[in-house]
Amino acid sequence: MSLFVTELRRLGKRRVTRLMLVLLVLGLATVATAFSFSSEKLSPAAVAEAEAKANNDYQTAMTEWKRTIAECEAAAGRGENTEDRYGPNCGKDYQPQPDMFEAKWYLPYQFDFRAEFPLFIAVFAASVALFGFIVGASFVGAEWNTGGMMNLLLWRPKRLTVLGTKLAALLTTVFGLTVVLGALWTAAFWLIASQRGSTAKMTGGVWQSIGLDGLRALGMTLLVAAVGFALASLGRHTAMALGAAVGIFAVSEIGIRIAVAVLGVQFGDRYVLSTYAQSWFLKQAELFDYDTCQFSQGACEPATYMVTWQQSAVVFGVALVGALVAAFWTMRRRDIS
C-alpha cells in the first residue's frame, strides 16, 4: 500500500505529467469554447426565415426549369439537336421537388446533444488516451532510463510487484482524470446544448446509451495508457513506446492498406486498426465493397461487412494482454544493469 501511494505521488510530481495535464485541459477547454460559438439556438423567427428562403429557392428553381424547357422546345422546333445541351426529353424529367429544398438546410448550425454528443465523447477519449499513452510511457520509461527503477528495486526487490504497482498507480490516475474531466466535458456540452443548442428528446434510454459510450471511452483511455506503459517497460525507454506507436500506426494504416489494395482483399479495412477504434466508439463500423456494385442497373447496393464493438473489444483485449504479458515476463527474466 505504501508503495502504491508512493508511486501515485511520484507520478503526480513528474513534470511530464503536469505539463501534459495542462495541455490536455487547455486543449479540451479550447475545443469546447470554440465549438460553443459555432452553435446557435434556433428562434421561431429564424425557422420562419429559413422556410421562406427554402420556398423561395424552390420557386426560383421551378421558374428556371420551365424557362429551360421552353427554350429547348423552341430549339427543337428549329430542328436543332437538343439532346447534348438539354438532355433527353428536354430535361422534363428533372422537375425540382420541394424535398430538395428542406428548410433545415437553410438554418444556422444548432448543436443537438442527443445526436452529436457521442462524437464528442470520442474526441474526449482520444485526447485523454493520448495523454495516458505519453504519461504512462514516460512514467516507466524515464524510470528505467535514469536508474530510478534500479534504485526502487533495491528497496523493494519484488520486481513484478513493483511494476504492477506502478501500473496500478498509472491506471488509477488515468481513471480519476477520465472520470473528473469526463464529467466536466459532459457538463460543458450540456451547457452548450441548453444555451445555444438543443437538448430535445433526452430520454432515460438516451442517457443510458451515452453512459455506455462513456464507459467504452474510459476503457479506451485505460487500455492505451496500459499499452504505452507496457511498451516503454519492454524497451526500457520512453522513446521505445513512442516509436512502437508510430510503427504500429504506419504498418496498420499505411502498410496494410496498401497491401490489401494490391492483393485485392475484399473488405481490406477489417485488417486496419482504426476500423476497430471507430467501431469501438460508434458501436459498429460498416465496410462497403463498391466493386460488387452494378452501376448499370441504377442505384448501387454494395456488399457490406460489419465490424462490431465486441469484435473491437477482442482485438484490443488481445493486444493489451499481449503487451502486458510481454512486459511482465521480461521484467521477471531480464538482468538489470
Binding site: S2, N151, D335
Partner: protein, 332 residues
C-alpha cells in the same frame, strides 16, 4: 563471529551471439564477518559490480550460493532487503526531482519515518542543497546523495560500490570517518574501491578478485604479511644484467617484477638463496633488501596488473587462478 555475507562458487556468464561467452564470475567465493569494514578489490572488469548486482537481485546468477544475514538469496531477498543498504556503481537519480523528494519517495516506499530523510541529508552534508534538483548537482554531490540513499534504512549491511568516486579530499576523509562510526555501531560495510591507500586505512579485511575468481582474502594485516614476507628488492652492480637475473630467478620459481633499475622478488624464503643463485650465474648483487609492502603492491602482484614498461596492459589481462587454487587461505 558470524558471517553477514557469504558467497560460494558464484557464477555469472554473459552470452552474446557475436563474442561468445564471457565468464564475468567464475566460481567466486566471498565471506564478510559481522561488524567488519570489508574491502572488495579487483582490476577493472574483474567482476566486482557483477557480484554486488547479483547479490542485490538485479541480475540472475548461473550458479553458486549466496546468503545475507544467514538467509539464502535470492529467495529471501525481500525479507532481508530492509536491512541492506546499497549503492551500485554511480547510481543515477531522476534528474528533475530534488534530493529531498528522491529520498522522501524511497523512505515512503520503505515505510520509514520522514525525519530519517533529514538525518541522512545532514550526515552526508547535503542539508542546505537538498531542495535543489538532482540535475544541478556536481558529481560528488550526486555521490553523496547515493550514500544517503543507502544509509536511509539504517541497514545492518551497507554495500558501497566505489563510493569515493568523485568525492573531494575532505569528502573522502569524512567518508572514512563515517565508515568507522558506522562499523563501531555494529554496521557491516562492504566497500569496493580502487583507492587502495584508503582501503588499507579503513578496512579490517579484504577480498581481491581477478577475472571472476578470488585471488586473496582475509584480514588486511594477514594479506599484507603473507606477501611482504618474501618480498625482496634486488639491485645488481650492472643494470644491464637485470634481465638475465630475472630469467634465472624465474626459472628457480621466484616471482619477479622487473623495474627499470631493480627487481622486485616475491615468494622468497631466505634472501641468501637469491644471492647464491645469482652468484652461480656470475651476477653480483649490490643490494638485497626485504621490503614491507603496502596493499597496492600486493594487489598489483596478486592480480598481475602492475604496469610493465613499454606495454599497454589491456583490461582482462590479469591473474587467473585455478579453481582449486583459492582454497588454501589468503593469497594464491
Amino acid at each position: 563471529m558470524s558471517a553477514v555475507l557469504e558467497i560460494e562458487g558464484l557464477r555469472k556468464t554473459y552470452r552474446s551471439r557475436k563474442r561468445g561467452v564471457r565468464h564475468a564470475l567464475d566460481g567466486f567465493d566471498m565471506r564478510v564477518e559481522a561488524g567488519q569494514v570489508h574491502g572488495f578489490l579487483g582490476p577493472n572488469g574483474s567482476g566486482k559490480t557483477t557480484t554486488l548486482r547479483t547479490l542485490l537481485g538485479l541480475i540472475r546468477p548461473n550458479g553458486g550460493r549466496m546468503a545475507i544475514l544467514g538467509q539464502e538469496l535470492p529467495h529471501a531477498l525481500p525479507a532481508v532487503a530492509g536491512q541492506v543498504g546499497a549503492i551500485v556503481e554511480s547510481p543515477q537519480f531522476f534528474p528533475h526531482f530534488s534530493a529531498r523528494d528522491t529520498l522522501g519517495l524511497l523512505a515512503q516506499a520503505g515505510e520509514l519515518p520522514r525525519q530519517r530523510v533529514d538525518e541522512v541529508l545532514e550526515l552526508v552534508g547535503l542539508r542546505d542543497r537538498a531542495g535543489e534538483r538532482v540535475k544541478t548537482y556536481s558529481l560528488g554531490m550526486k555521490q553523496r546523495l547515493a550514500v544517503a540513499s543507502a544509509l536511509l534504512k539504517n541497514p545492518k549491511l551497507l554495500i558501497l560500490d566505489e563510493p569515493a568516486n568523485g568525492l573531494d579530499p575532505g569528502g573522502i576523509r569524512e567518508m572514512r570517518g563515517l565508515m568507522r562510526d558506522l562499523s563501531e555501531n555494529g554496521m557491516t560495510v562492504v566497500l569496493s574501491s580502487h583507492i587502495l591507500g584508503e582501503i588499507q586505512l579503513i578496512c579490517d579485511s579484504v577480498t581481491i578478485i581477478s577475472l571472476g575468481r578470488r585471488v586473496a582474502f582475509g584480514p588486511v594485516e594477514q594479506v599484507l604479511a603473507a606477501h611482504s614476507q618474501g618480498s625482496v628488492r634486488v639491485r645488481l652492480e650492472a643494470v644491464s644484467d637485470l634481465s638475465q637475473a630475472a630469467d634465472a630467478l624465474t626459472r628457480a620459481g621466484v616471482r619477479v617484477a622487473t623495474e627499470p633499475d631493480h627487481l622486485m622478488l616475491s615468494g622468497v624464503d631466505k634472501p641468501a638463496t637469491v644471492s647464491r643463485l645469482l652468484a652461480e650465474q656470475g651476477l653480483y648483487v649490490s643490494e638485497l633488501t626485504p621490503v614491507a609492502v603496502d596493499l597496492e603492491s600486493v594487489f598489483l602482484e596478486l592480480t598481475a596488473t602492475a604496469p610493465v614498461p613499454g606495454q599497454h596492459r589491456q583490461v582482462d589481462q590479469s591473474a587467473k587462478v585455478d579453481q582449486t587454487g583459492t582454497a588454501g587461505g589468503w593469497g594464491a
